[in-house]
């Protein structure tokens, strides 16, 4: 423990730290550590103070830290103990082999953050060692989207409070059948929103935290869906206090969405095709809502959904640029899902019927015809939207039309 030069021994005038009454149970080690850090290795620090435990606690602390206590007596009468600073700084040793985890800004994202960076902040000085944390989406080409930081900032700024954003006490009266249709549509929306909540939540847990803006965006997206679940549930229960029905076919369709394990394909099915179609559906509810509460909740959810679709399209467009084989895989995912649902009877028929009644608003032949026309127009709009977004991902028009048609029986 020697060999380093003495800048002042217990016999000579060296620096003295006065702890006054501060004890090691109250943070004295912080002052001692700071004082020693200012000295050269091997230099001696005198420590003064009047805590009765001082010399013994200091000795135990020094042993743990690798510093050496020197025996007295000390010429300075205030000094109760002297410490020789350890020869090699352990913190320097700890920093040996440390590396920067990229740099903090979005332009500091690296191509493949190693697993042992784990949850370290981007740009942090990461000590070597530490356990590998298996985030399987850890490739910049797969995880990252340049749009993510901007979409996240937008999403964070656009959060709304379900308690105050909707006037739950707004007066309205609906015929029983129309109210029932609203309840059925809301019940259907809730199971879709719950699926849309689970998927980004699951996927975000697989993304390396180095791509933090992607995680943040997905977290806010999941929070958006949590609010959608709340407001649609609340509208369903507003008058009758009962939920509608949940069809086996509808749940089979959602289960096939949950079953997609691939990060990019899952966002393709959920955001580009599913939430893309939802934009049209929520727009329809905004237009034909028979009451102000239904209109308001549909409008609020639609704003959020537009962001979810934008992320999905941006992510897939970014991927398609880098991976020419992606189109084939996207097509395969749509076909697999279609095949899985081929034998599902009456998929979403009850929802389409409820939408007709909701848009009709009354039980007259003219009203039902009007509602039916509106729903037919909705299905056309959904198809147009899907084809448009598929074209943005680089699919030729005929293939986009074909894939959109395979999606038709599912909303989400």
């Amino acid at each position: 423990m020697t060999g380093a030069p003495d800048t002042g021994g217990p016999g000579g005038p060296g620096p003295v730290l006065d702890l006054a009454g501060l004890g090691f149970g109250e943070g004295a080690h912080l002052l001692v550590r700071r004082a020693l850090a200012g000295l050269a290795p091997g230099a001696v620090l005198g420590v003064a103070g009047h805590d009765p435990a001082l010399p013994l606690h200091l000795a135990a602390w020094c042993r743990r830290e690798g510093h050496r206590m020197l025996p007295g007596p000390f010429p300075d009468p205030r000094v109760r103990a002297a410490v020789r600073r350890r020869p090699r700084d352990r913190d320097t040793g700890r920093r040996h082999g440390a590396e920067r985890a990229g740099s903090p800004g979005p332009d500091g994202v690296v191509a493949r953050p190693p697993a042992h960076w784990g949850p370290a902040a981007r740009g942090a000085l990461v000590e070597a060692g530490g356990p590998p944390v298996p985030f399987d989406v850890a490739d910049r080409d797969i995880a990252w989207t340049d749009l993510a930081p901007r979409l996240y900032a937008h999403a964070a700024a656009a959060q709304w409070d379900p308690a105050t954003a909707v006037d739950w006490a707004a007066p309205f009266t609906l015929p029983d059948a129309v109210e029932q249709a609203v309840v059925q549509v809301m019940t259907y929306l809730v199971e879709n929103e719950q699926t849309a909540l689970v998927i980004p939540a699951r996927l975000l847990a697989r993304v390396h935290p180095h791509f933090r803006e992607v995680l943040q965006l997905l977290a806010v997206q999941a929070a958006d869906e949590a609010r959608h679940v709340e407001v649609f549930t609340r509208r369903a229960l507003l008058r009758g206090g009962r939920m509608g029905t949940s069809s086996a076919g509808g749940r089979a369709s959602l289960a096939s969405l949950l079953a997609e394990p691939d990060f990019s394909l899952a966002f393709f099915l959920l955001s580009v095709l599913g939430e893309g179609s939802f934009l049209s559906l929520l727009g329809f509810l905004d237009r034909y809502a028979p009451d102000p509460v239904t209109r308001r909740v549909a409008r609020l959810a639609r704003r959020d959904e537009a962001r979810h679709v934008a992320f999905g399209v941006a992510h897939l467009a970014h991927r398609a640029d880098r991976d020419p084989a992606l189109h084939g895989r996207l097509r395969g995912a749509v076909e697999r899902r279609h095949d899985a649902l081929r034998d599902t009877a009456g998929l979403n028929d009850d929802v389409f019927d409820a939408l007709v009644v909701l848009a009709a608003g009354a039980w007259t032949p003219e009203a039902v015809a009007r509602g039916h026309r509106a729903v037919r127009r909705l299905r056309e709009e959904m198809d147009e939207g899907r084809r448009h977004r598929l074209a943005r991902l680089g699919f030729p028009d005929d293939e986009a039309a074909e894939l959109s048609a395979l999606h038709t029986r599912s909303f989400m």
């Binding site: 090691f24 149970g25 109250e26 435990a53 013994l56 135990a60 743990r64 690798g66 352990r90 040996h96």
Partner: protein, 297 residues
Amino acid sequence: MTGMTRMTRMTGTTEPLLLGAVAYDPKVVTIWTGFRSWLTARGLPFDFVLYAHYERQAEDLAAGRLHAAWHSPLAWVRSQRLAAAQGTPLRPLVMRDTDRDLRSVIVVRADARHRRPADLKGETVATGAVDSPQSTLLPLARLREHGLRPGEDFRVLRHDTGVGLHGDHIGGERDAARALMSGEAAAACLSDASWLLFAQDGTLPPGATRPLDRTGPYDHCVLAVGHAADPDLADGLGRLLRSMDHADPEVRHLLDLEGLTAWLPGRTGGFAALAAAVTEAGHYDERGRITAPEYAP
């Protein structure tokens, strides 16, 4: 390096060096599994077994069923007596830098009337487990030096947590500190490291205790090599352990877990006070047999 080359060549044919360690905490598995991979990757045939307590480990080392043992200071004292009785060699190979020159303290509440050890006459003194060097054997020996006979001049309130672990389980010391704060005891016997820990983790409120007395410096754990060990392998183990560098991330977390920054050569001078305390307390006899009453690991 030549020694290491020789060991590498011998790996296929040599019986591995077998070390015993006591499983006083689950981290012991992590530590010795990590050390084992590190040592074998460097050509040392090395294996380990875990024990439930130090007494069987000391007996197996003496019987030659182990080549080496990661020993408490009390286990060292017993191994020394067992080895001397059967005329076999025993050597201290390495120790942690943090195991040298510990002290134990006898602390009282800051507002207590006690000023000198003699003031504890007729009082209750809290200690750790019956086999804890730092919080029972050494501080009670210190009080004997002041003419206070444990159990006669003062009452001993023992906290027998982890008997057979030689005080490695800190629970007994923590209970002793709590007995002091609750007023059940007038004084508590602790290692200086535990006293610091309890002050820092809030077991003892800031400024609530002060030292009444302290022991002289003593050493703690040591890696003991018994008569059955191949001397070349044992030397190889010592050399490799001492080459472990805290700057190497592969071993740093093991060293941090085991609580050291560097391995130092073993030495025996720091166990003399404990050997004397063991004799006074009648914990082991001169041939290393267990003689302590109420001691059943």
